[in-house]
């Protein structure tokens, strides 16, 4: 046992060395070797210790079944913390452990340097286990059903928060101030100033803003409810909801960089493993074993996009293009296939470019900017739809055109798969009803999920909930009043 631990430590040092040589820049790295059960729990609960909920139990059971039946992936969990904490399953063979370690170092680098991770709380771990203890007390005091009911509802809108939380959070007072202060009237002074229409002080008065809530459409639905619910929420309930929000914010950077982060980690684990093999630190058999697991990581799935594979290919492609100078106007405009085929300006900026991309991009712009026609073909991407036929749902390829595939991906990624819903009015009809608005982007909301979610929001708000959206290209307002759902079409 201890000799194995020793060997892992040696690998750790070696990997660290290679990683540094490659230019990766990471927090101090710590690995814990743990039993599989603990790993599965961390996967399901997102944290080493977290509060209880049946949905985590469900995920845990799913992970466990997959693990026990042997069709899970080589598990890796690297927490966004400083020092970066990661886990290894105590029963995994050495080559798998080494691969996971190499992979984790690149995650560590990514989380330390990517701009989306900059504002996150890297001290969340103790706070999650403290929350677990507090929630247990709430269960004793107010009943497990009450706590579960609240969690059910809170979790239903945990993703409806503002993902761009690194910008300064304005207090309501500041917001009111900003909105109600007329912008200074531009006095014509230069030769062209008369062409610019002077801005009229047409903003509503402070009085209007004293009554209006929220002052501007609010993207952080969960926060708005915590602060303004007329239910009213009790202290312990607000505590629980705040914990959900904090955890969701903590996990948000992972959600919006999934493809990049996994692609980046895969790119570097491949290169680090290659070096280890070349330096004969892994033998033939171990390398073969690694290849087997690696193939599973890179396997395609007919109904999802594999972020490890897609991210890897895109990063590799960027590196190659910037190495050969295959970017810029001249390249874009070149129509000669022969010329393109052999295009190599010896630019050699590949490495530099991928490090820059890993620093300043998120998935949406990553895909928008770097998913080329060739990559869409190489990755074998398609769009598919479900059709009900002969008593089953059949999923059928509906589109192979690369532009359409890319545009759907970009649109899904702009909201990280969660439709954008904002609070328009927290005092609708002057009766403190909640009016939400879905920013329609071409895809309708799922009805069953929408209705159930509105019921959850009702539980938190305790007054009728309205949701403006689109159905069949027409504006609709859905309402749930605590007993039934109604739909009103609007022109």
């Amino acid at each position: 046992m201890d000799s194995e631990l020793k060997r892992l430590s040696e690998f750790d040092e070696k990997i660290q060395e290679i990683a540094q040589e490659f230019g990766l820049d990471f927090f101090p790295q710590e690995f814990d070797v743990i039993p599989a059960q603990k790993m599965l729990e961390i996967l399901a609960y997102h944290f080493p210790v977290n509060f209880s909920h049946w949905s985590f139990g469900r995920d845990y059971e799913r992970e466990k079944t997959q693990y026990e039946y042997g069709f899970g992936l080589p598990y890796e969990v690297a927490l966004n913390s400083n020092p970066c904490r990661a886990y290894l399953i105590n029963t995994n063979p050495i080559p798998v452990q080494v691969m996971v370690m190499a992979h984790v170092y690149a995650h560590n680098d990514f989380m330390k340097n990517n701009l989306h991770f900059k504002p996150t709380r890297r001290d969340i771990l103790p706070s999650a286990s403290e929350a677990a203890i507090r929630f247990q007390k709430y269960e004793k005091r107010f009943g497990p059903e009450e706590v579960e009911r609240l969690l059910d509802s809170g979790l239903s809108i945990e993703l409806n928060i503002n993902p761009d939380f690194f910008i300064h959070e304005e207090s309501e007072e500041e917001q009111r101030e900003r909105l109600s202060t007329p912008s200074p009237v531009v006095v014509a002074s230069g030769p062209y100033d008369d062409l610019i229409a002077p801005k009229k002080p047409d903003r509503p008065s402070l009085d209007y803003y004293n009554k209006k809530t929220p002052l501007e459409p609010e993207r952080d639905v969960l926060l708005y409810i915590i602060n303004h619910s007329p239910k009213p929420l009790r202290e312990w309930q607000r505590d629980i909801l705040s914990v959900l929000r904090d955890q969701s914010r903590y996990l948000m950077p992972q959600r919006r960089t999934k493809i990049m982060n996994e692609g980046w980690a895969t790119l570097w684990h491949l290169r680090i493993m290659d070096r280890l093999f070349k330096e004969r630190l892994l033998n033939e058999e171990e390398h073969g074993n690694y290849n087997l697991y690696n193939a599973r990581v890179l396997a395609t799935n007919p109904r999802t996009l594999n972020p490890y594979l897609a991210g890897l290919r895109i990063f590799a492609d960027i590196e190659e293009r910037w190495n050969r100078g295959r970017f810029g106007r001249e390249w874009e405009e070149c129509q000669d296939p022969k010329k393109r085929e052999t295009w190599d300006l010896g630019t050699g900026q590949g490495r530099e470019k991928i490090f820059e991309v890993r620093r300043s991009y998120g998935d949406r712009f990553f895909i928008e900017q770097f998913l080329t026609e060739k990559l869409v073909h190489d990755l074998n991407l398609y769009l598919y739809e479900g059709k009900q036929e002969q008593g089953e749902i059949r999923y059928v390829i509906s589109e192979r055109d690369w532009k359409q595939i890319k545009s759907l991906l970009v649109s899904h990624l702009s909201t990280f798969g969660t439709p954008l819903v904002m609070v328009e009015d927290g005092d609708y009809k002057g009766k403190r009803e909640l009016y939400l608005k879905h920013s329609y982007d071409g895809v309708e909301l799922d009805q069953e999920y929408r209705e159930k979610t509105m019921e959850h929001i009702f539980y938190l708000w305790d007054r009728p909930i309205h949701l403006e959206s689109m159905a069949n290209e027409k504006k609709v307002v859905y309402t749930y009043d605590g007993t039934k759902h109604t739909t009103a079409r609007r022109e």
Binding site: T304, I393, D446
Partner: protein
């Protein structure tokens, strides 16, 4: 060293929350149970077949885009051209957690068998009015009973049925996973798994390389994780005997739907009794204008035509009571199902009265009014003659009638659709139902073993 072995106290959180999730699934099955149990595929299943009620994980509701399964669009990866099928998923109506979880978060499907279903739906139910009959033949010590099921044990206590069930459960999970990964239909995946002798990865390879032999056979071996063993515990309860007389109208006026409802009721009644009570005899009586004793198979599968004398069934029940089942020794439960189109209702009432006088524990009558055009109603006659009361009545709904004095332990139900089968079972098997609004000391402990 940056690589450490952390001593974790193994928390039970995952297991506990998983159990809570299972419990919630059960709750939701219970809510839909009336639909599930009237599912034709269960009633008509072959003997010994496991009932597949696919259960998926409960959904976590949030705002999401329209699902691929309901016309939304997703991104996938692989070969194929426009129009090619890349995945399938069966549609199950009215089942919990169904259908269309997002791709990738499909819960592994599990199954439930009849025993579990019965346990869930008929919890706290039993034969009403059950009395201890103090005679020799009724007192049977049970000796040892199998207490719990464990994953380890000695070979002699291997529980074959449970082990097989585990294996089938695992196989189904594997097949589901293969379908999800490759998009091939269920039979193809099952075959590949058989050829690969249960090896999932090999099966996947076979499917991907499309070298599935036309004719091939194999079997899925048991895995060690499938094995289930029993533990023993001493059991010294005593029992009393009971007989159920299942009487069914199979005449021409009982159309397919009506027969289906009646059979459905008896199917569950029989399954339930066999599971709960160690010893219960069931006699099957089919009648048109004449009644006769038939085998269980005939009872459930054969239809006849012709007119209807319901009293013929009651007369046969009287005959059995007088010759084979002495009420001093036996708990007797006649249950009769008909559409109420009886040619001689007056005679039927007098035979039923005679049966009650003989001292049967309870007489249950179910009348199926599946179409609104039926002319005569036996239930109306019973109601009048026996002075029945209707404790729960909502117009146009399921109706229940009950005797009003201890000498008339009669319970009647009017069924109008499939979901009423479950309601009837619950009413007929209410253990402590008092007749006449008083408690007559018929209360029995739950669950009473006979």
């Amino acid at each position: 060293m940056a690589v450490k072995k952390q001593e974790w106290e193994l928390s039970q959180r995952g297991l506990k929350d998983a159990a809570r999730h299972r419990e919630k699934i059960k709750e939701s099955i219970q809510k839909n149970i009336a639909d599930i149990i009237s599912d034709a595929s269960i009633i008509t299943r072959k003997k010994g077949q496991i009932v597949k009620v696919p259960i998926r994980g409960l959904k976590s509701y949030r705002f999401i885009y329209k699902q691929e399964s309901s016309g939304g669009t997703g991104v996938g990866q692989g070969e194929g051209k426009k129009g090619d099928i890349i995945g399938r998923q069966p549609i199950h109506d009215g089942r919990p957690g169904q259908p269309g979880d997002q791709p990738g978060i499909d819960f592994l499907e599990t199954e439930i068998d009849i025993e579990e279903l019965i346990e869930m739906m008929l919890k706290d139910l039993g034969l009403p009015n059950l009395k201890k009959k103090a005679v020799a033949e009724a007192a049977i010590p049970k000796g040892w009973k199998f207490q719990s099921i464990e994953k380890t044990g000695v070979t002699s206590r291997l529980d074959r049925k449970r082990t097989l069930k585990e294996a089938i459960r695992r196989t189904t999970t594997f097949v589901g996973e293969l379908m999800r990964r490759t998009g091939e239909p269920e039979e193809v995946c099952r075959k590949a798994l058989e050829i690969a002798q249960g090896d999932l990865l090999r099966a996947e390879k076979i499917l991907r390389e499309e070298n599935l032999p036309e004719e091939g056979q194999g079997f899925i071996p048991l895995f060690r994780e499938d094995l289930r063993y029993r533990t023993l515990e001493k059991d010294v309860e005593y029992h009393s005997n009971a007989v159920v007389l299942a009487m069914m109208d199979v005449s021409g006026s009982m159309g397919t739907m009506k027969k289906y409802l009646a059979r459905s009721f008896f199917f569950w009644l029989v399954e339930f009794l066999r599971q709960i009570y160690k010893q219960v005899q069931i006699r099957f009586i089919a009648h048109t204008t004449e009644a006769k004793l038939v085998s269980e198979h005939e009872f459930f599968h054969k239809g006849e035509s012709g007119g209807t004398f319901c009293h013929s069934a009651y007369d046969l029940a009287i005959h059995l009571t007088e010759t084979e089942y002495n009420p001093a020794r036996w708990n007797i439960y006649p249950f009769h199902f008909s559409d109420g189109e009886d040619f001689e209702p007056a005679k039927t009432v007098s035979s039923a009265r005679r049966l009650l006088q003989l001292g049967v524990n309870m007489l249950g009558y179910g009348e199926i009014q599946a179409d609104p055009y039926s002319s005569s109603r036996l239930m109306a006659t019973f109601e009048r003659e026996f002075h029945l009361e209707k404790p729960h009545f909502r117009p146009g709904e399921f109706e229940i009638f009950s005797g009003t004095d201890p000498a008339t332990p009669f319970i009647g139900a009017v069924l109008k659709d499939k979901s009423h089968v479950y309601l009837t079972l619950r009413e007929f098997l209410k253990k402590d139902r008092p007749f006449g609004g008083k408690n007559h000391g018929f209360r029995t402990e739950a669950p009473q073993r006979i």
